[in-house]
Amino acid sequence: MKNNIKYLAILALGLVACEPEFDNPIEDAGTYSSGEADFSTYVALGNSLTAGFADGALYITGQENSYPNILSKQFAFAGGGDFTQPLMDDNTGGLLIPGTDPLSNRLVLAFDAMGNPGPKPFAGAAPTTSVANVLTGPFNNMGVPGARVYHLVSAAAGYGNIAGLATGQANPYFVRFASSPTAAIIDDAVAQNPTFFSLWIGNNDILGYATSGGIGKDHNVTGNLMAGTYSGDDITNNMVFAGAYNELVTKLAAGGTKGVLLNLPDVTSIPFFTTVPNNALVLDAATAASLTGFFQAVTGIVTAQVAGTGVPLAQAQALASQYAITFSAGANRFLIKTEVTPTNPLGFRQMTEQELLLLTIDRGALAQGYGSVMLTPEVLQVLGILQAGGTPTAAQGAMVIAAISAIDDKDALDSGELDAISTARTSFNATIAGLAAANNLALYDAASDLAQVADGGIAINGGVVTSQFVTGGGFSLDGVHPSPRGHAIVTNGILEAIKETYGVNLPAVDPSDFGTITLSNEVN
């Protein structure tokens, strides 16, 4: 009896002394594991996506919400070490570059006097980060906004040389943290002896062309293999891409270092290309009828002009008939400029269903006739003459033709440009997948997830993330770069991929814990 009481007393004291404790605390070893991977030194390479560039700028909270930084926090559950980033000095965005204008501030969502929201550059503070202030590294996040695949390789040494900024040979973001003016990104990365790496590069090799409306060159067509001669608006040659990418992977994976490669999403996944519909020409019945009449008039004028050059009438009519565009009440597709050729002497046509307009197009101008016709009173007067069966003068005919306001090449991606983009992307992604397989690296199909975001969305706690501009949650206000929530989705995708490849078991993140866009009315 005495003994029993003693035991009871001890048990009771034990109970009382106890603070609450879980049966299986997540802090316990064994809850999570790094599998075959070693996260002690994780180095991330890439471009603006990796750097955490968002809202058209690089700023601290964007960097903190970059997928590599989020990922590093999950890695910390299974041996992940410190993760350093070349943080900017403020949340204003912008970057001071001696001898030239600063890079612009971040975009914020502002409400105008009518209460309509729209992105505007933040004007509440001036940028304080100077490119001349070179940080002491190394940094785990080596993402460099604007970088293309061939900017990372050893041969691109000097990409971080401040003296090269004026000539466009250097990148201000790499200048900030290059180990020396003659350093190359890949060499600075390898020097850190990473135990794990991620690589998401190649987006700009296509995107530069896409976001400039395809005004640059497609080097898969030109056959130019000299990357040094490429402009920022060009598509990188497939062989140049493969060669550079191969060098990066080979150097990073040397000695069996494990890592994850990310492939390249489609431009149609990005609000920059999907926000302004190509059929935003919304007409009432009367306007549609008068536009249809206008183009019948154009057809007549062209027929007369062509026939006037000695072409048989039937042939002239057939040629001119391409301009007999009809419009109906409701949504109609815009007109875009094409090359002036003998078969399309006026150099325009209506957009096809797949063709895209850029977010940066002047939407005010679209409402005023850009993309269709500037129907001035003078033009309408000529139309009246035509409708009454009269014959306009040559000058009047020229005035009608000049009223056509097709969309410039820089504001749209036409089907040829989309094909060029698609060809390059398919080739680049094949290279990435092939090198992942050849080096036993994990491959995250970011393209597939981002396509899902754009097409129906990805369900999260409390809602759905889509690529809808401003409201969808997946993208920042520049329409190209992900929001923190988008980065969280990418993080979860990478965790899935490395789970599959390396048996990693780590907690996911809840995308609903990550923000989307930032409101502020501190704008001009």
């Binding site: 603070e19 879980f22 601290i60 809602g463 780590l506 907690p507 609903s512 930032t518 009315n521």
Partner: protein, 416 residues
């Protein structure tokens, strides 16, 4: 030696009490030591709270009981899927009680009670994973209750009185999971109000079958704390007409302090006293915690959907010596929180309470009362599935919770 061991056993093994929701059942040191039973125990002025009807059966003309406890509580949270974890850093809760009864004549006694039956003090780390539901909350109410008790016969008495309640609240949480100012500081709202008062009442009856067996009944009405003059402070919202302005504004909110019905019995046998109480707590009135703001910010609607709940209490007293009475108790406290409504501002699931204590008679008039309780919660996987996100969507927050609380208390009983 045996006595000492017994003492250790009683004091340490038997801790227990508290109750679901934000009810804090620590209304008397002697009752607390016996699992917070008392509706049918005629022992001290603690009857002012437990059952005013019993006051007329107290032997002495003047009875005073004062006491205070220190509640040390701790809640831990983790979510294995997301790797999230947090632990509260609560300050010590200090429920107090003061009871006085005075026998005017053989058939009538009057009394006064001051006690703190409701409260909640939970402090999570700022910006923790559930910060959109609560960063910290400090809720308290003090009840002042004048009482009269009538002996209808040796067998039956009744009693009751009005209750004046005064409450205060300080509650901070983040606006939602994501809204920040330009520098990433989380937008948050603090509501603060004090001196919010209202009236209620209590009534009880006691039936004595014989000298040994008593039956008690007590009902305390619901009191609604309606906050109308408090201040809500909005902080770290971005500078935009799309969100509320930063700074102080008014708010309105209502919090019910639910009614409680207790029936129970006590049985005395030689040096032993056994007590059983059944509490029915009418939490069903706590449907939603809704806050409206004067600055035009959208109202904060927080469904609670509590259900009525029960507590089963068992207490034992042993008069060890003339001077020392030992007490022990156990109770089972069923949670009023329904699945899917588990909010971290009142993270209470069902619990088992173990209590113990003793009285030491310093003189024939004055005794020191000590009590102790330990509240054991089971680990629970729970969530709050009715949160509202920044775009109006319904979202969920949950994980594994485990709570613990223990509370030593001291009091004095004076009889004249």
């Amino acid at each position: 030696m045996r006595k000492l061991l017994l003492l250790v056993l009683f004091v340490s093994v038997t801790a227990v009490t508290y109750a679901g929701g934000y009810r804090v059942s620590v209304q008397g040191q002697r009752a607390m030591a016996m699992g917070h039973t008392g509706v049918a125990v005629v022992n001290s002025a603690e009857l002012v709270f437990f059952n005013p009807a019993g006051l007329v059966y107290l032997e002495n003309k003047l009875n005073v009981s004062v006491g205070a406890s220190a509640i040390f509580s701790d809640v831990i949270f983790q979510n294995e899927e997301l790797g999230a974890s947090a632990e509260t850093d609560n300050s010590v809760g200090t429920p107090i009680n003061l009871y006085v009864s005075y026998k005017l004549n053989d058939w009538m006694s009057v009394g006064l009670g001051v006690y703190t039956p409701y409260g909640s003090e939970v402090t999570w780390p700022t910006d923790w994973a559930g910060s959109h539901l609560v960063n910290n909350i400090d809720l308290s109410a003090i009840f002042i209750q004048p009482t009269v008790s009538f002996k209808l016969s040796e067998f039956l008495s009744i009693g009751g009185g009005p209750i004046y309640a005064s409450g205060s609240v300080n509650f901070n949480r983040n606006a939602n999971r994501t809204t920040t100012d330009l520098d990433g500081n989380r937008s948050n709202i603090t509501v603060d109000d004090s001196g919010v008062s209202n009236w209620g009442w209590t009534v009880g009856a006691m039936f004595n079958f014989n000298d040994n067996l008593r039956l008690g009944f007590n009902y305390r009405s619901e009191i609604t704390i309606e906050s109308e003059d408090g201040e809500a402070i909005f902080a770290n919202f971005p500078n935009s007409p799309g969100v509320p302005p930063n700074g102080a504004t008014g708010f309105k909110a209502e919090l019910p302090l639910p009614a409680e019905l207790t029936v129970g019995l006590s049985y005395e046998y030689e040096k032993w006293l056994f007590a059983f109480d059944y509490n029915r707590q009418f939490w069903g009135v706590y449907e939603s915690l809704d806050l409206t703001f004067e600055n035009g910010a959208p109202p904060s609607i927080n469904p609670r959907n509590y259900k009525n709940s029960s507590v089963y209490r068992f207490g034992l007293q042993y008069q060890a010596t003339e001077k020392i009475a030992l007490r022990a108790g156990y109770y089972r406290d069923e949670t009023p929180v329904q699945p899917g409504f588990f909010a971290p501002e009142t993270p209470r699931n069902s619990s088992d309470g173990f209590s113990g204590g003793l009285s030491f008679a310093v003189t024939s008039k004055l005794a020191i009362d000590a009590s102790f309780f330990y509240l054991r919660f089971e680990e629970i996987d729970a969530s709050y599935d009715f949160g509202t996100n920044s775009t109006g969507g319904t979202e969920s927050f949950g994980g594994t919770y485990k709570s613990g609380a223990f509370a030593p208390g001291l009091g004095l009983t004076y009889k004249l």
